[in-house]
Subunit: 318 residues, 2 copies
Amino acid sequence: MDIGGTEIKIGLFDGEGNLLEKWSIPTDRTDGGCRILADAAASLLAKMRERGLGSSDVIGVGVGVPGVVLPDGTVERAVNLGWGRLDAAGELTELLDGIPAFIGNDANAAALGEAWKGAGKGRRSLVLVTLGTGLGAGVIIDGKMITGAHGVGGEIGHMRVRDDEKEPCTCGGYGCSQQICSATGLVREAERLLSAEPEAESVLRTFGSSLTARDIADAAKEGDRIAEKTMDIMTRYLGRTLALTAMVVDPEVFILGGGVSAAGSYLTERTEKYYKEYSPISEYRADVVTARLGNDAGIYGAAAMAGGFGNGRTILGK
Amino acid sequence: MDIGGTEIKIGLFDGEGNLLEKWSIPTDRTDGGCRILADAAASLLAKMRERGLGSSDVIGVGVGVPGVVLPDGTVERAVNLGWGRLDAAGELTELLDGIPAFIGNDANAAALGEAWKGAGKGRRSLVLVTLGTGLGAGVIIDGKMITGAHGVGGEIGHMRVRDDEKEPCTCGGYGCSQQICSATGLVREAERLLSAEPEAESVLRTFGSSLTARDIADAAKEGDRIAEKTMDIMTRYLGRTLALTAMVVDPEVFILGGGVSAAGSYLTERTEKYYKEYSPISEYRADVVTARLGNDAGIYGAAAMAGGFGNGRTILGK
C-alpha cells in the first residue's frame, strides 16, 4: 500500500515481486485520518475474498506513509494524513486478522521499489529524489536503506539552499530546497517571475491560477523565456541539493521521480550541469537519471518491505 | 600509520586495540612525496627489530592518507603529500616483506578510531567532523563506513554554505564550509573582521600574523568582541553544515575533532544552537560532542583497518 494525501494505492504482488493487480481508494482525511487504515484494510480483505485468498496465503503487507516513521514502525507524525504518533503497524495487523504489516516512509518505499525493479536495478547505492508536492528522498547505500537515528534520514527537501527566502516552508524553515524543487515550487517560481516582469510575454499567463508544473516544463521545451528561466532556477537548486547530498553519501546514481520528472532529459541535463558546478571537488560524479516505475514505485517498495526486505534491511544483492 | 603533511604518526597495537607505543617521523614531501612510504616502512621495520617481531607476528598495517582513496585501496590523489594516483597498499606491502597493508582516507580512519575507542564507543551511527587545516569528515552509519562510489563520501568540508564568498577554496569552489569552519578559516574570518573594523579594540591585534585558531577561541572565552563574533560566524556555518549532513544520514551523534575542538563546550553549545536553527524539520537531533582520542584517533582507526575492520567494513557491534 502507498498511502497518499488524496488516494491509497494498493497492489497485489507474488513472491517474486510481480505486480498481479493494482487499484486505489480515496484517502479519508477527516477526523484526524482515523478511518484511513480501516478503509485500506477493508479494501484489501475484499480483494482477498474475491481471489479466494486466506490470511495464511499472504506473506505480509507493506505500507508507505508520507511522514516520519521510527525504526520500530511507529509513525511519529504524518501531517498530510492528519496523523500524530500512531502504531500503524500494530493497528493494521489487528485489522487484517494477524497478517504482518511493515510501515516505512513513502519516499523510502519508492526508493526501495526503484532499487528493486526500476532505474536502480543492479546498483548498490542510489538516492531517489521524488519531485512531487514536496521533495522527498530515499537513500540506499551499499544495499541498505538509511532511515536515520531520528527518522529524518533523506529529508533533503529541507536542506537550506536559498538564503533570501521570505516565505516559510511547511517545516517552519526558510529557503528549503523543496520550496523551489517540487511541482509546487515550480509553479510558485513561475508566478514570481510573471509578477516581477508584468510586461514580459509568456504562454504561462494563459493558464491563470490553474498553472501546473507540467505546463511550465512543456512551455520551457517550446522556448518560452519565463518558463525556461523557471526551469533554470529549479534545476540550479536541485543540482545544488544533489551536490550537497553527494558530499555526504556519494551514491552511484541519483534517480529523479515524481510528476516533475516527466520533463525527462531536459530536467536531468540541466540538473547535472549545476550538480557539477556545485561539486568541483572530484571529476567523478553520480549519474542523474529519471525513475522508471512512475507512480507504482511506492507499491513495489511496499511489497519489498512486506517480503522482509525494507525497513533498514537490504533488498539489493538478492 | 597516520600520514600527515608534516609528520607520519605510527602506533603499535595489540590484537585488542591497546596502544603499546607510538612515535612519529617527519614527512618528506620533496620529489612528489616518493620517499614517504619507504621512510614509514623503514621506521616500522626498525621498531619490529627492536622488539624482536617478525613479519608473521604482525596482523597488518593500516594507513590513513589525506586524500581520495578508492574502494580497492588505490590513492586517487593526495594533494598535501604531492601524490597523484598511487597503489599505496601494494607498494607498502612490498616494502614490508608481505605484511598486508590497508589504506583509507585519514578522516575516515579517525572516525573509525573514535567509533572504536573514543567518543563514539557504543554508537551505531556517527559523523566525525575534524576541524584542522581543513574540514574533513568520516561517516559511519549502522556500523558501516560510508566512503562513497567515487571516493567523495564525507567530503562535507566542500558543501557550499556561503553564497557571497569571493576567494576560491582549494577545491576550486567558492563558499565551501571548510573556508570558514577550520583552523585556517577561523583565522581568516578574524582577519577579515579586524580589517573591516580598524577602530575596534581586540586582543587579537597583538598576535599579528602569528594569530592562531587557539588564540581566537581563548579570546572569545575572555569576552573579546571580535573573537566572539568570529566564533559566532564559524559555529553558525558549522551548525548549518551539520544540519545539511543530518538531513541525508541522520546520525546518532556528531563528534567534533581536530585542533579547533579544544574549545570544548564553548564550541559544541553554539554549534548546536545553529544546527537546531537550520533543521526545524524534527525536534529530535543528533548529539554534538567533542572527540576523545585527540591526535591519536587516526592511528587507532588505522589499527582498526589493519584488524580487518575498516575500508567500508564494520568495526561496530564487535
